[in-house]
Protein backbone atom coordinates (compact mmCIF):
# COMPACT_ATOMS: atom_id res chain seq x y z
CA UNK A 1 0.00 0.00 0.00
CA UNK A 2 2.73 2.43 1.08
CA UNK A 3 4.69 1.36 -1.96
CA UNK A 4 1.81 2.28 -4.27
CA UNK A 5 1.37 5.63 -2.53
CA UNK A 6 5.03 6.66 -2.84
CA UNK A 7 5.48 5.42 -6.38
CA UNK A 8 2.15 6.90 -7.44
CA UNK A 9 3.07 10.32 -6.09
CA UNK A 10 6.47 10.28 -7.80
CA UNK A 11 5.12 9.14 -11.17
CA UNK A 12 2.18 11.55 -11.04
CA UNK A 13 4.50 14.51 -10.47
CA UNK A 14 6.38 13.62 -13.63
CA UNK A 15 3.16 13.09 -15.58
CA UNK A 16 1.90 16.46 -14.42
CA UNK A 17 4.99 18.14 -15.83
CA UNK A 18 4.63 16.26 -19.13
CA UNK A 19 0.99 17.31 -19.42
CA UNK A 20 1.52 20.95 -18.42
CA UNK A 21 3.85 21.59 -21.35
CA UNK A 22 1.28 20.12 -23.72
CA UNK A 23 -1.77 21.83 -22.26
CA UNK A 24 -0.04 25.20 -22.44
CA UNK A 25 -0.02 25.14 -26.23
CA UNK A 26 -3.45 23.59 -26.41
CA UNK A 27 -4.92 26.30 -24.19
CA UNK A 28 -3.16 29.32 -25.63
CA UNK A 29 -2.77 28.46 -29.31
CA UNK A 30 -5.74 26.04 -29.56
CA UNK A 31 -3.65 23.61 -31.58
CA UNK A 32 -2.56 20.09 -30.86
CA UNK A 33 1.18 19.75 -31.00
CA UNK A 34 1.64 16.11 -31.93
CA UNK A 35 5.39 16.70 -32.03
CA UNK A 36 5.30 17.41 -28.28
CA UNK A 37 6.56 13.92 -27.49
CA UNK A 38 9.53 14.74 -29.70
CA UNK A 39 10.44 17.65 -27.40
CA UNK A 40 10.85 15.10 -24.62
CA UNK A 41 12.93 12.89 -26.84
CA UNK A 42 15.12 15.79 -27.95
CA UNK A 43 15.66 16.74 -24.31
CA UNK A 44 16.51 13.19 -23.30
CA UNK A 45 18.99 12.70 -26.13
CA UNK A 46 20.63 16.10 -25.56
CA UNK A 47 21.21 15.16 -21.93
CA UNK A 48 22.53 11.78 -22.99
CA UNK A 49 24.94 13.35 -25.46
CA UNK A 50 26.34 16.04 -23.15
CA UNK A 51 26.45 14.06 -19.92
CA UNK A 52 27.31 10.58 -21.16
CA UNK A 53 29.10 11.01 -24.48
CA UNK A 54 30.93 14.29 -23.82
CA UNK A 55 31.03 13.52 -20.06
CA UNK A 56 30.22 17.05 -18.98
CA UNK A 57 28.61 17.70 -15.58
CA UNK A 58 25.02 16.48 -15.36
CA UNK A 59 23.67 19.91 -14.48
CA UNK A 60 25.13 21.29 -17.72
CA UNK A 61 23.39 18.46 -19.54
CA UNK A 62 20.02 19.32 -18.02
CA UNK A 63 20.41 23.03 -18.78
CA UNK A 64 21.55 22.36 -22.31
CA UNK A 65 18.59 20.03 -22.84
CA UNK A 66 16.23 22.80 -21.74
CA UNK A 67 17.88 25.31 -24.10
CA UNK A 68 17.73 22.90 -27.04
CA UNK A 69 14.09 22.15 -26.22
CA UNK A 70 13.25 25.86 -26.17
CA UNK A 71 14.96 26.46 -29.52
CA UNK A 72 13.20 23.42 -30.97
CA UNK A 73 9.87 24.82 -29.78
CA UNK A 74 10.56 28.20 -31.38
CA UNK A 75 11.58 26.57 -34.67
CA UNK A 76 8.39 24.51 -34.71
CA UNK A 77 6.34 27.66 -34.23
CA UNK A 78 8.17 29.75 -36.82
CA UNK A 79 8.55 27.11 -39.53
CA UNK A 80 5.40 25.01 -39.16
CA UNK A 81 2.66 26.56 -37.09
CA UNK A 82 2.88 30.18 -38.20
CA UNK A 83 2.94 29.51 -41.98
CA UNK A 84 -0.11 27.26 -41.59
CA UNK A 85 -2.06 30.18 -40.03
CA UNK A 86 -4.03 28.33 -37.41
CA UNK A 87 -5.35 25.59 -39.69
CA UNK A 88 -5.87 22.96 -36.96
CA UNK A 89 -5.98 19.90 -39.16
CA UNK A 90 -2.91 20.97 -41.13
CA UNK A 91 -0.96 21.67 -37.93
CA UNK A 92 -1.87 18.31 -36.42
CA UNK A 93 -0.87 16.45 -39.55
CA UNK A 94 2.34 18.39 -40.13
CA UNK A 95 3.47 18.01 -36.50
CA UNK A 96 2.78 14.28 -36.75
CA UNK A 97 4.91 14.07 -39.90
CA UNK A 98 7.61 16.14 -38.19
CA UNK A 99 7.63 13.72 -35.26
CA UNK A 100 8.26 10.77 -37.55
CA UNK A 101 10.98 12.69 -39.42
CA UNK A 102 12.79 13.51 -36.18
CA UNK A 103 12.43 9.92 -35.00
CA UNK A 104 14.23 8.87 -38.18
CA UNK A 105 16.80 11.61 -37.60
CA UNK A 106 17.49 10.32 -34.08
CA UNK A 107 17.97 6.80 -35.44
CA UNK A 108 20.37 8.27 -38.00
CA UNK A 109 22.52 9.97 -35.36
CA UNK A 110 22.25 7.72 -32.33
CA UNK A 111 21.23 4.38 -33.81
CA UNK A 112 18.16 2.23 -33.31
CA UNK A 113 19.16 0.61 -30.02
CA UNK A 114 17.69 1.72 -26.71
CA UNK A 115 20.07 3.51 -24.36
CA UNK A 116 20.11 3.49 -20.60
CA UNK A 117 20.46 6.92 -19.08
CA UNK A 118 22.62 7.15 -15.95
CA UNK A 119 20.59 8.43 -13.03
CA UNK A 120 20.73 12.16 -12.51
CA UNK A 121 21.37 11.61 -8.78
CA UNK A 122 22.71 8.31 -7.50
CA UNK A 123 21.57 6.49 -4.41
CA UNK A 124 18.68 4.52 -2.99
CA UNK A 125 16.54 5.62 -0.06
CA UNK A 126 14.85 3.24 2.34
CA UNK A 127 11.46 4.07 3.83
CA UNK A 128 10.62 1.14 6.09
CA UNK A 129 9.99 -1.69 3.63
CA UNK A 130 9.90 0.55 0.59
CA UNK A 131 13.03 1.50 -1.30
CA UNK A 132 13.04 4.23 -3.88
CA UNK A 133 15.83 5.60 -6.00
CA UNK A 134 16.99 9.13 -5.34
CA UNK A 135 16.73 9.70 -9.07
CA UNK A 136 12.96 9.25 -9.11
CA UNK A 137 12.57 11.55 -6.12
CA UNK A 138 14.71 14.15 -7.85
CA UNK A 139 12.62 13.81 -11.01
CA UNK A 140 9.37 14.31 -9.11
CA UNK A 141 10.76 17.26 -7.10
CA UNK A 142 12.21 18.83 -10.23
CA UNK A 143 8.83 18.46 -11.93
CA UNK A 144 7.03 20.18 -9.06
CA UNK A 145 9.53 23.04 -9.00
CA UNK A 146 8.99 23.61 -12.72
CA UNK A 147 5.20 23.39 -12.44
CA UNK A 148 5.07 25.86 -9.54
CA UNK A 149 7.50 28.13 -11.36
CA UNK A 150 5.24 28.05 -14.43
CA UNK A 151 2.19 28.76 -12.29
CA UNK A 152 3.86 31.80 -10.74
CA UNK A 153 5.04 32.91 -14.17
CA UNK A 154 1.54 32.78 -15.61
CA UNK A 155 -0.09 34.52 -12.66
CA UNK A 156 2.51 37.17 -11.85
CA UNK A 157 4.42 38.28 -14.94
CA UNK A 158 3.18 40.48 -17.72
CA UNK A 159 3.76 37.94 -20.48
CA UNK A 160 2.14 35.22 -18.37
CA UNK A 161 -1.00 37.28 -18.02
CA UNK A 162 -0.87 38.03 -21.76
CA UNK A 163 -0.83 34.28 -22.35
CA UNK A 164 -3.94 33.90 -20.21
CA UNK A 165 -5.62 36.68 -22.16
CA UNK A 166 -4.82 35.10 -25.53
CA UNK A 167 -6.09 31.73 -24.32
CA UNK A 168 -9.42 33.28 -23.37
CA UNK A 169 -9.99 35.49 -26.38
CA UNK A 170 -7.37 36.10 -29.03
CA UNK A 171 -9.13 39.05 -30.66
CA UNK A 172 -9.88 40.69 -27.34
CA UNK A 173 -6.27 40.32 -26.33
CA UNK A 174 -5.10 41.85 -29.59
CA UNK A 175 -7.38 44.86 -29.06
CA UNK A 176 -5.93 45.32 -25.58
CA UNK A 177 -2.46 45.69 -27.07
CA UNK A 178 -1.21 42.13 -26.67
CA UNK A 179 0.56 40.73 -29.69
CA UNK A 180 -0.80 37.20 -30.14
CA UNK A 181 2.13 36.29 -32.37
CA UNK A 182 4.72 37.05 -29.70
CA UNK A 183 2.65 35.39 -27.00
CA UNK A 184 2.25 32.28 -29.12
CA UNK A 185 5.98 32.17 -29.83
CA UNK A 186 6.70 32.50 -26.10
CA UNK A 187 4.25 29.69 -25.38
CA UNK A 188 5.99 27.37 -27.83
CA UNK A 189 9.39 28.23 -26.34
CA UNK A 190 8.22 27.56 -22.78
CA UNK A 191 6.42 24.38 -23.80
CA UNK A 192 9.53 23.15 -25.60
CA UNK A 193 11.72 23.89 -22.57
CA UNK A 194 9.33 22.18 -20.15
CA UNK A 195 9.02 19.22 -22.50
CA UNK A 196 12.78 18.85 -22.77
CA UNK A 197 13.18 18.95 -18.97
CA UNK A 198 10.38 16.39 -18.63
CA UNK A 199 12.18 14.33 -21.25
CA UNK A 200 15.36 14.14 -19.17
CA UNK A 201 13.35 12.96 -16.15
CA UNK A 202 11.19 10.61 -18.20
CA UNK A 203 14.20 9.03 -19.89
CA UNK A 204 15.93 8.51 -16.55
CA UNK A 205 12.75 6.77 -15.37
CA UNK A 206 12.57 4.44 -18.36
CA UNK A 207 15.16 4.52 -21.13
CA UNK A 208 16.05 6.35 -24.31
CA UNK A 209 14.81 4.99 -27.61
CA UNK A 210 13.87 6.58 -30.94
CA UNK A 211 10.22 5.62 -30.41
CA UNK A 212 10.01 6.97 -26.86
CA UNK A 213 8.00 10.00 -27.97
CA UNK A 214 4.73 8.10 -28.42
CA UNK A 215 4.08 7.12 -24.80
CA UNK A 216 4.45 10.59 -23.23
CA UNK A 217 2.40 12.12 -26.04
CA UNK A 218 -0.45 9.72 -25.32
CA UNK A 219 -0.17 10.43 -21.58
CA UNK A 220 -0.22 14.19 -22.18
CA UNK A 221 -3.19 13.88 -24.53
CA UNK A 222 -5.07 11.74 -22.01
CA UNK A 223 -4.45 14.14 -19.13
CA UNK A 224 -5.44 17.16 -21.15
CA UNK A 225 -8.58 15.59 -22.57
CA UNK A 226 -9.75 14.25 -19.23
CA UNK A 227 -8.77 17.40 -17.34
CA UNK A 228 -10.18 19.78 -19.91
CA UNK A 229 -8.45 22.72 -21.53
CA UNK A 230 -7.50 25.88 -19.73
CA UNK A 231 -7.35 24.33 -16.28
CA UNK A 232 -3.95 23.81 -14.67
CA UNK A 233 -5.53 22.45 -11.49
CA UNK A 234 -7.57 19.99 -13.55
CA UNK A 235 -4.39 18.90 -15.30
CA UNK A 236 -2.66 18.27 -11.97
CA UNK A 237 -5.57 16.28 -10.54
CA UNK A 238 -5.96 14.11 -13.62
CA UNK A 239 -2.19 13.56 -13.80
CA UNK A 240 -2.49 12.01 -10.34
CA UNK A 241 -5.51 9.90 -11.30
CA UNK A 242 -3.67 8.50 -14.32
CA UNK A 243 -0.34 8.13 -12.53
CA UNK A 244 -1.90 6.25 -9.62
CA UNK A 245 -4.01 4.03 -11.88
CA UNK A 246 -0.88 3.05 -13.80
CA UNK A 247 0.98 2.16 -10.63
CA UNK A 248 -2.02 0.26 -9.26
CA UNK A 249 -2.52 -1.78 -12.43
CA UNK A 250 1.22 -2.46 -12.65
CA UNK A 251 1.46 -3.71 -9.06
CA UNK A 252 -1.85 -5.55 -8.81
CA UNK A 253 -2.47 -6.81 -12.35
CA UNK A 254 0.11 -6.77 -15.13
CA UNK A 255 2.54 -4.14 -16.37
CA UNK A 256 1.30 -4.57 -19.94
CA UNK A 257 -2.20 -3.44 -18.96
CA UNK A 258 -1.10 -0.11 -17.52
CA UNK A 259 -2.08 1.89 -20.60
CA UNK A 260 -5.47 0.24 -21.04
CA UNK A 261 -7.14 2.14 -18.23
CA UNK A 262 -5.84 5.44 -19.63
CA UNK A 263 -7.27 4.73 -23.08
CA UNK A 264 -10.65 3.68 -21.72
CA UNK A 265 -10.72 6.84 -19.61
CA UNK A 266 -10.03 9.02 -22.67
CA UNK A 267 -12.73 7.37 -24.73
CA UNK A 268 -15.28 7.45 -21.91
CA UNK A 269 -14.68 11.11 -21.07
CA UNK A 270 -14.77 12.19 -24.71
CA UNK A 271 -18.05 10.40 -25.30
CA UNK A 272 -19.77 11.38 -22.06
CA UNK A 273 -18.33 14.81 -21.24
CA UNK A 274 -16.29 16.15 -24.16
CA UNK A 275 -15.13 19.29 -22.42
CA UNK A 276 -13.30 17.27 -19.79
CA UNK A 277 -13.85 17.01 -16.06
CA UNK A 278 -12.56 20.49 -15.24
CA UNK A 279 -12.53 22.25 -18.62
CA UNK A 280 -14.18 25.59 -19.10
CA UNK A 281 -15.44 25.12 -22.64
CA UNK A 282 -15.78 22.80 -25.57
CA UNK A 283 -13.32 22.98 -28.40
Amino acid sequence: MFQILIQGLLLSGLYALIAVGFTLIFSVGRVLNLAYGVSLMVGGYTFFYTAQVLEMPKLVGVLLAIVVGAVFGLLKYRLLVKPLKGDHVAIEISTLILAVVIQAGIILVFGDATKILHSIIDGVWQFGTVSITANNVAAALGSWVLILGLYAFIKKTHIGRAMQAVSMDQKGAAISGVEPDKVNAATWVISGALGAAAGVFFASYTQLSPSMWVAPLIIAVAIVIVGGIGSIIGTLIVAHIIGFMEIITTTLFAAELRGVFTMILIIAVLVIRPRGLFGREEL
Partner: protein
Protein backbone atom coordinates in the same frame (compact mmCIF):
# COMPACT_ATOMS: atom_id res chain seq x y z
CA UNK B 1 -28.03 8.67 -72.09
CA UNK B 2 -24.53 9.17 -70.77
CA UNK B 3 -23.48 12.79 -70.43
CA UNK B 4 -20.24 14.00 -71.99
CA UNK B 5 -18.16 14.61 -68.83
CA UNK B 6 -19.24 11.23 -67.47
CA UNK B 7 -18.23 9.54 -70.73
CA UNK B 8 -14.86 11.26 -70.58
CA UNK B 9 -14.22 10.10 -67.01
CA UNK B 10 -15.28 6.56 -67.96
CA UNK B 11 -12.76 6.59 -70.82
CA UNK B 12 -10.02 7.82 -68.47
CA UNK B 13 -10.97 5.01 -66.06
CA UNK B 14 -10.75 2.43 -68.86
CA UNK B 15 -7.28 3.64 -69.89
CA UNK B 16 -6.14 3.70 -66.28
CA UNK B 17 -7.42 0.16 -65.58
CA UNK B 18 -5.87 -1.29 -68.72
CA UNK B 19 -2.59 0.46 -67.94
CA UNK B 20 -2.46 -0.92 -64.39
CA UNK B 21 -3.31 -4.44 -65.59
CA UNK B 22 -0.61 -4.34 -68.28
CA UNK B 23 2.06 -3.10 -65.86
CA UNK B 24 3.61 -6.56 -65.19
CA UNK B 25 3.98 -7.10 -68.95
CA UNK B 26 5.64 -3.71 -69.35
CA UNK B 27 7.92 -4.51 -66.43
CA UNK B 28 8.85 -7.83 -68.01
CA UNK B 29 9.65 -6.10 -71.31
CA UNK B 30 11.81 -3.51 -69.58
CA UNK B 31 13.63 -6.27 -67.74
CA UNK B 32 12.74 -5.30 -64.16
CA UNK B 33 12.97 -8.00 -61.53
CA UNK B 34 10.16 -9.60 -59.56
CA UNK B 35 11.14 -7.46 -56.57
CA UNK B 36 9.79 -4.40 -58.33
CA UNK B 37 6.44 -6.13 -58.69
CA UNK B 38 6.38 -6.88 -54.97
CA UNK B 39 6.92 -3.19 -54.31
CA UNK B 40 3.92 -2.43 -56.49
CA UNK B 41 1.82 -4.93 -54.52
CA UNK B 42 2.63 -3.09 -51.30
CA UNK B 43 1.75 0.17 -53.06
CA UNK B 44 -1.66 -1.26 -54.08
CA UNK B 45 -2.51 -2.19 -50.48
CA UNK B 46 -1.28 1.17 -49.22
CA UNK B 47 -3.49 2.82 -51.84
CA UNK B 48 -6.49 0.87 -50.53
CA UNK B 49 -5.84 2.04 -46.97
CA UNK B 50 -5.26 5.60 -48.13
CA UNK B 51 -8.55 5.60 -50.04
CA UNK B 52 -10.31 4.24 -46.99
CA UNK B 53 -8.81 7.00 -44.82
CA UNK B 54 -9.64 9.61 -47.38
CA UNK B 55 -13.27 8.53 -47.55
CA UNK B 56 -13.77 9.60 -43.94
CA UNK B 57 -11.15 12.26 -43.43
CA UNK B 58 -10.77 13.77 -46.87
CA UNK B 59 -14.51 13.99 -47.44
CA UNK B 60 -16.24 14.68 -44.16
CA UNK B 61 -13.32 16.44 -42.45
CA UNK B 62 -13.35 14.04 -39.50
CA UNK B 63 -9.62 13.33 -39.26
CA UNK B 64 -9.01 9.73 -38.26
CA UNK B 65 -5.77 8.98 -36.46
CA UNK B 66 -6.87 5.44 -35.79
CA UNK B 67 -7.12 3.88 -39.20
CA UNK B 68 -4.58 1.18 -38.35
CA UNK B 69 -7.18 0.10 -35.77
CA UNK B 70 -9.62 -0.80 -38.54
CA UNK B 71 -7.00 -2.37 -40.79
CA UNK B 72 -5.68 -4.34 -37.83
CA UNK B 73 -9.09 -5.69 -36.88
CA UNK B 74 -9.59 -6.96 -40.41
CA UNK B 75 -6.16 -8.56 -40.54
CA UNK B 76 -6.39 -10.13 -37.08
CA UNK B 77 -9.90 -11.51 -37.54
CA UNK B 78 -9.14 -13.37 -40.73
CA UNK B 79 -5.74 -14.50 -39.46
CA UNK B 80 -7.17 -15.93 -36.23
CA UNK B 81 -10.08 -17.59 -38.01
CA UNK B 82 -8.05 -19.22 -40.73
CA UNK B 83 -4.91 -20.04 -38.72
CA UNK B 84 -6.39 -21.06 -35.36
CA UNK B 85 -9.79 -22.44 -36.39
CA UNK B 86 -9.10 -23.62 -39.95
CA UNK B 87 -11.96 -21.58 -41.34
CA UNK B 88 -11.69 -21.47 -45.15
CA UNK B 89 -10.47 -18.14 -46.49
CA UNK B 90 -13.64 -17.62 -48.52
CA UNK B 91 -15.55 -17.34 -45.22
CA UNK B 92 -12.91 -15.80 -42.98
CA UNK B 93 -12.35 -12.72 -45.16
CA UNK B 94 -16.05 -11.72 -45.37
CA UNK B 95 -16.38 -12.29 -41.61
CA UNK B 96 -13.31 -10.12 -41.08
CA UNK B 97 -14.85 -7.35 -43.17
CA UNK B 98 -18.07 -7.51 -41.17
CA UNK B 99 -16.16 -7.43 -37.87
CA UNK B 100 -14.21 -4.42 -39.11
CA UNK B 101 -17.46 -2.65 -39.94
CA UNK B 102 -18.66 -3.32 -36.40
CA UNK B 103 -15.37 -1.81 -35.22
CA UNK B 104 -16.12 1.14 -37.50
CA UNK B 105 -19.40 1.67 -35.63
CA UNK B 106 -17.44 1.90 -32.37
CA UNK B 107 -15.37 4.56 -34.07
CA UNK B 108 -18.54 6.30 -35.07
CA UNK B 109 -20.00 6.71 -31.57
CA UNK B 110 -17.61 9.47 -30.45
CA UNK B 111 -18.12 11.24 -33.78
CA UNK B 112 -21.72 11.87 -32.78
CA UNK B 113 -20.65 14.31 -30.10
CA UNK B 114 -17.17 15.53 -30.82
CA UNK B 115 -15.35 16.81 -33.84
CA UNK B 116 -12.10 18.35 -34.89
CA UNK B 117 -9.01 17.70 -32.84
CA UNK B 118 -10.85 15.72 -30.17
CA UNK B 119 -12.12 13.22 -32.69
CA UNK B 120 -8.61 12.72 -34.04
CA UNK B 121 -7.39 12.04 -30.51
CA UNK B 122 -10.07 9.56 -29.59
CA UNK B 123 -9.31 7.53 -32.70
CA UNK B 124 -5.63 7.60 -31.75
CA UNK B 125 -6.65 6.28 -28.32
CA UNK B 126 -8.59 3.45 -29.97
CA UNK B 127 -5.47 2.42 -31.87
CA UNK B 128 -3.19 2.45 -28.81
CA UNK B 129 -5.81 0.59 -26.77
CA UNK B 130 -5.98 -2.13 -29.39
CA UNK B 131 -2.20 -2.37 -29.55
CA UNK B 132 -1.99 -3.00 -25.84
CA UNK B 133 -5.01 -5.30 -25.61
CA UNK B 134 -3.95 -7.52 -28.49
CA UNK B 135 -0.75 -8.44 -26.70
CA UNK B 136 -2.32 -9.19 -23.35
CA UNK B 137 -5.78 -10.64 -23.94
CA UNK B 138 -5.79 -14.24 -25.14
CA UNK B 139 -2.20 -14.37 -26.44
CA UNK B 140 -2.96 -17.99 -27.35
CA UNK B 141 -5.23 -16.62 -30.08
CA UNK B 142 -3.50 -13.41 -31.14
CA UNK B 143 0.05 -14.67 -30.78
CA UNK B 144 0.87 -11.91 -28.29
CA UNK B 145 3.73 -9.58 -29.06
CA UNK B 146 5.10 -11.72 -31.87
CA UNK B 147 1.83 -12.01 -33.77
CA UNK B 148 0.96 -14.89 -36.09
CA UNK B 149 3.02 -16.18 -38.99
CA UNK B 150 2.34 -18.96 -41.47
CA UNK B 151 -1.12 -17.70 -42.42
CA UNK B 152 -2.48 -19.32 -45.55
CA UNK B 153 -1.54 -17.26 -48.61
CA UNK B 154 -3.99 -16.79 -51.45
CA UNK B 155 -1.62 -16.50 -54.38
CA UNK B 156 1.71 -17.87 -55.47
CA UNK B 157 4.29 -15.72 -57.18
CA UNK B 158 4.57 -11.98 -57.59
CA UNK B 159 2.57 -11.74 -60.82
CA UNK B 160 -0.56 -13.39 -59.39
CA UNK B 161 -0.21 -11.40 -56.18
CA UNK B 162 -0.02 -8.24 -58.23
CA UNK B 163 -3.14 -9.05 -60.22
CA UNK B 164 -5.09 -9.76 -57.05
CA UNK B 165 -3.92 -6.58 -55.31
CA UNK B 166 -4.38 -4.33 -58.32
CA UNK B 167 -7.85 -5.70 -59.10
CA UNK B 168 -8.90 -5.13 -55.49
CA UNK B 169 -7.57 -1.61 -55.63
CA UNK B 170 -9.24 -0.81 -58.95
CA UNK B 171 -12.61 -2.27 -57.95
CA UNK B 172 -12.57 -0.35 -54.66
CA UNK B 173 -11.50 2.85 -56.39
CA UNK B 174 -14.23 2.50 -58.98
CA UNK B 175 -16.95 1.75 -56.43
CA UNK B 176 -15.90 4.70 -54.24
CA UNK B 177 -15.84 6.93 -57.30
CA UNK B 178 -19.34 5.78 -58.28
CA UNK B 179 -20.64 6.41 -54.74
CA UNK B 180 -19.20 9.91 -54.75
CA UNK B 181 -20.84 10.68 -58.10
CA UNK B 182 -24.25 10.27 -56.47
CA UNK B 183 -25.95 12.85 -54.29
CA UNK B 184 -24.63 11.14 -51.18
CA UNK B 185 -21.11 12.04 -52.28
CA UNK B 186 -22.04 15.69 -52.64
CA UNK B 187 -23.65 15.69 -49.20
CA UNK B 188 -20.54 14.11 -47.66
CA UNK B 189 -18.28 16.81 -49.07
CA UNK B 190 -20.72 19.40 -47.79
CA UNK B 191 -20.29 18.06 -44.24
CA UNK B 192 -16.63 19.03 -44.36
CA UNK B 193 -17.56 22.58 -45.30
CA UNK B 194 -20.39 23.20 -42.89
CA UNK B 195 -22.08 20.43 -40.97
CA UNK B 196 -24.75 22.72 -39.53
CA UNK B 197 -26.00 23.85 -42.92
CA UNK B 198 -26.18 20.26 -44.18
CA UNK B 199 -28.36 19.55 -41.18
CA UNK B 200 -30.33 22.69 -41.98
CA UNK B 201 -31.03 21.43 -45.49
CA UNK B 202 -33.02 18.61 -43.95
CA UNK B 203 -30.42 15.87 -44.38
CA UNK B 204 -29.54 13.56 -41.53
CA UNK B 205 -25.82 14.12 -40.94
CA UNK B 206 -25.83 11.20 -38.50
CA UNK B 207 -26.93 8.81 -41.24
CA UNK B 208 -24.51 10.32 -43.75
CA UNK B 209 -21.58 10.05 -41.34
CA UNK B 210 -22.53 6.51 -40.38
CA UNK B 211 -22.60 5.62 -44.06
CA UNK B 212 -19.15 7.15 -44.65
CA UNK B 213 -17.71 5.32 -41.64
CA UNK B 214 -19.21 2.01 -42.76
CA UNK B 215 -17.81 2.35 -46.27
CA UNK B 216 -14.41 3.36 -44.94
CA UNK B 217 -14.33 0.52 -42.42
CA UNK B 218 -15.42 -1.95 -45.09
CA UNK B 219 -12.59 -0.88 -47.40
CA UNK B 220 -10.06 -0.94 -44.56
CA UNK B 221 -11.28 -4.41 -43.56
CA UNK B 222 -10.97 -5.77 -47.09
CA UNK B 223 -7.48 -4.30 -47.43
CA UNK B 224 -6.36 -5.55 -44.02
CA UNK B 225 -7.72 -9.06 -44.54
CA UNK B 226 -6.19 -9.51 -47.98
CA UNK B 227 -2.89 -8.00 -46.83
CA UNK B 228 -2.73 -10.56 -43.99
CA UNK B 229 -3.26 -13.33 -46.53
CA UNK B 230 -0.67 -11.86 -48.85
CA UNK B 231 2.09 -11.34 -46.27
CA UNK B 232 1.24 -14.55 -44.45
CA UNK B 233 2.04 -12.92 -41.12
CA UNK B 234 0.76 -10.24 -38.77
CA UNK B 235 2.29 -8.53 -35.76
CA UNK B 236 0.90 -5.88 -33.40
CA UNK B 237 3.77 -3.45 -33.97
CA UNK B 238 3.37 -3.68 -37.74
CA UNK B 239 -0.36 -2.93 -37.65
CA UNK B 240 -1.31 -0.82 -34.64
CA UNK B 241 1.54 1.55 -35.15
CA UNK B 242 1.91 5.29 -35.44
CA UNK B 243 4.38 4.83 -38.31
CA UNK B 244 1.79 2.83 -40.23
CA UNK B 245 -0.74 5.58 -39.58
CA UNK B 246 1.83 8.10 -40.79
CA UNK B 247 2.31 6.18 -44.04
CA UNK B 248 -1.43 5.98 -44.72
CA UNK B 249 -2.10 9.65 -44.02
CA UNK B 250 0.95 10.84 -45.92
CA UNK B 251 0.00 8.74 -48.96
CA UNK B 252 -3.49 10.21 -49.03
CA UNK B 253 -2.33 13.78 -48.46
CA UNK B 254 0.64 13.78 -50.81
CA UNK B 255 -1.41 12.35 -53.64
CA UNK B 256 -4.31 14.68 -53.06
CA UNK B 257 -6.95 14.46 -50.41
CA UNK B 258 -10.65 14.20 -51.29
CA UNK B 259 -10.00 12.81 -54.75
CA UNK B 260 -10.08 9.16 -55.73
CA UNK B 261 -6.96 9.15 -57.86
CA UNK B 262 -4.97 11.17 -55.31
CA UNK B 263 -4.46 8.50 -52.62
CA UNK B 264 -3.44 6.04 -55.35
CA UNK B 265 -0.90 8.47 -56.81
CA UNK B 266 0.40 9.14 -53.32
CA UNK B 267 0.72 5.47 -52.42
CA UNK B 268 2.59 4.62 -55.63
CA UNK B 269 4.75 7.74 -55.49
CA UNK B 270 5.80 7.14 -51.90
CA UNK B 271 6.33 3.39 -52.20
CA UNK B 272 8.40 3.78 -55.34
CA UNK B 273 10.30 6.68 -53.79
CA UNK B 274 11.20 4.52 -50.77
CA UNK B 275 12.29 1.75 -53.12
CA UNK B 276 14.40 4.07 -55.27
CA UNK B 277 16.10 5.46 -52.19
CA UNK B 278 17.11 2.00 -51.00
CA UNK B 279 20.45 1.74 -52.85
CA UNK B 280 21.74 5.01 -51.39
CA UNK B 281 20.01 5.02 -48.05
CA UNK B 282 19.56 1.50 -46.77
CA UNK B 283 18.25 2.11 -43.27
CA UNK B 284 16.15 4.53 -41.30
CA UNK B 285 17.57 7.42 -43.32
CA UNK B 286 14.98 6.62 -45.94
CA UNK B 287 12.19 7.59 -43.57
CA UNK B 288 14.05 10.80 -42.82
CA UNK B 289 14.09 11.77 -46.49
CA UNK B 290 10.60 10.38 -47.07
CA UNK B 291 9.09 12.31 -44.18
CA UNK B 292 11.03 15.42 -45.12
CA UNK B 293 9.75 15.34 -48.68
CA UNK B 294 6.22 14.69 -47.41
CA UNK B 295 6.44 17.63 -45.01
CA UNK B 296 7.78 20.04 -47.64
CA UNK B 297 5.18 18.99 -50.20
CA UNK B 298 2.44 19.30 -47.62
CA UNK B 299 3.56 22.75 -46.52
CA UNK B 300 3.84 23.86 -50.16
CA UNK B 301 0.50 22.49 -51.34
CA UNK B 302 -1.78 20.80 -48.78
CA UNK B 303 -3.94 19.46 -51.62
CA UNK B 304 -1.11 17.27 -52.86
CA UNK B 305 0.49 16.19 -56.12
CA UNK B 306 -2.87 16.05 -57.88
CA UNK B 307 -3.40 19.77 -57.30
CA UNK B 308 0.21 20.59 -58.20
CA UNK B 309 -0.25 18.69 -61.47
CA UNK B 310 -3.34 20.74 -62.36
CA UNK B 311 -1.62 23.97 -61.34
CA UNK B 312 1.17 23.22 -63.78
CA UNK B 313 -1.30 22.25 -66.52
CA UNK B 314 -3.30 25.44 -65.96
CA UNK B 315 -0.21 27.61 -66.09
CA UNK B 316 0.85 25.90 -69.32
CA UNK B 317 -2.60 26.38 -70.83
CA UNK B 318 -2.91 30.05 -69.96
CA UNK B 319 0.55 30.75 -71.33
CA UNK B 320 -0.30 29.06 -74.62
CA UNK B 321 -3.67 30.78 -74.71
CA UNK B 322 -1.93 34.13 -74.28
CA UNK B 323 0.34 33.57 -77.25
CA UNK B 324 -2.32 32.47 -79.75
Amino acid sequence: MISKPLLRSLIIWAIFIIGMLLLPKIFALLGFSKGNLRTLIQACYLAIFAMSWDFISGRTGYISFGHPFLVGIGAYTTAILSYRFDVPVMYSIPIAVIVTMIGGTLFFLPALRIKGSYFALVTLAFMELMYQLVQVIRPDLTGGTRGISGIETLTRGAVNGYYLAVSLMLVIAFVLWAILKTRIGTALSAIAMNEESVKGSGLSTTKLKLFAFMVSACVAGIGGAFLAHYNGSIAPRALFDINFLFTIIVAALIGGSSTIIGPMIGAFFLTLLLEKLRPWLPGAERYFVYGGIALLLYMYQPKGLYAIFWQVVDRFRTRRGGQS
